[in-house]
Symmetry: C2
Subunit: 208 residues, 2 copies
């Protein structure tokens, strides 16, 4: 097997260097000596996603238009930030208040994930906000229209299963965060699964 | 509140139109009449991620270098495809065999998610492969180096919690898929959570 190892950047320049879009074109050398002269990387600011839970066992969501896919989607609140200007929890508190008007008492940085590590540079920080209350007001800029939607924790699994929640970062943050907060148990079953037993065959020789 | 509604594309052109990178620059009109003349969208092919489970209750992972973030990561196998050329399950079977050498008997399209619906056009199709066996061999191209790693289902939750699994699409597919297959139970708790009770305060007046 070829070794799994980092690539070496031989040369790097910006193909687009706009305030809203930075695309880097890298010339790289692979561990096996192969050179690729146009590997494109989107240089993007980090993102913080906020799992805010109210005292009434509800999660605070936002519903807004997303132009990349041209759809109106239900997601966790969030936004971009720069780690040299604010911490991820400072950014989380700011974004939660601006997008939803909610303020939370207890903040935890749960995890740092990636969206698309193949093509994008950014991380997704997952912040947990406990005891969130609507004590402020939305502060949106002129290009933003955001509907705040509270969803009972008991309905989250159904909304993931039925396709109302479709963004991978939001789904990961919900399942990891609600487990961390002990609102969910996630329990591996010891016994054989019940689904698809007709087509599961543990003896490979029967398929030859 | 401003209405949550789709934007209208007034004009659209490619800022980069390369085989490996297509960046569209849209001039858009928002529902409130505001115009934005440089909204950038990455036009990307759809992705299929494969949750392949073996008869020994293991999940098939791949470990490889990801140049966007410059890290070696553990992820579910997957790849890009074009819906006008093959179905997501045909693409899934092809990618699983090419990347890992595994072939599966039972295939299910579980869900269709988004990575970054703000900036990217692509969807992520989640495919479930049951009764996967190593009956073929890796077929990698010269730029690929992929280590195949099998992980027992019982260790998945720990690997998400400890940060060994960090990609949102992979985490979503694992938690949704292992629940769908009845390997996991995800159960909302009825009682109050045990964590952070010191700082949770259900009476907002006490915080004034």
């Amino acid at each position: 097997m070829k070794p799994v190892a980092r690539w070496k950047i031989i040369n790097s320049e910006f193909a687009i260097d706009n305030r809203w879009c930075k695309v880097r074109r890298d010339e790289v050398e692979l561990p096996n000596g192969v050179r690729v002269d146009d590997y494109f990387v989107n240089v993007r600011p980090d993102v913080v996603l906020i799992l805010a839970v109210t005292p009434d066992r509800e999660v605070v969501f936002v519903r807004q238009y997303r132009h990349g896919v041209g759809e109106i989607l239900l997601e966790l609140p969030g936004g971009t930030f720069y780690a040299d200007r604010e911490t991820c929890l400072e950014a989380a508190a700011r974004e939660l208040e601006e997008e939803t008007g909610y303020i939370a008492r207890t903040w935890t940085h749960l995890a740092t994930l990636y969206d698309n590590p193949v093509k994008d540079t950014n991380k997704i920080y997952i912040a947990i906000a406990e005891n969130a209350l609507e004590e402020s007001y939305q502060q949106l800029d002129i290009t933003e229209a955001v509907e705040v939607v509270r969803v009972p924790i008991a309905e989250i699994i159904e909304k993931i299963a039925n396709g109302e929640l479709t963004v991978a970062g939001t789904i990961s943050a919900l399942l990891m965060g609600l487990k961390y907060l002990n609102y969910f148990d996630i329990i591996p079953r010891e016994s054989e699964p019940e689904k698809s037993t007709d087509s599961v065959n543990s003896d490979p020789t029967q398929n030859d």
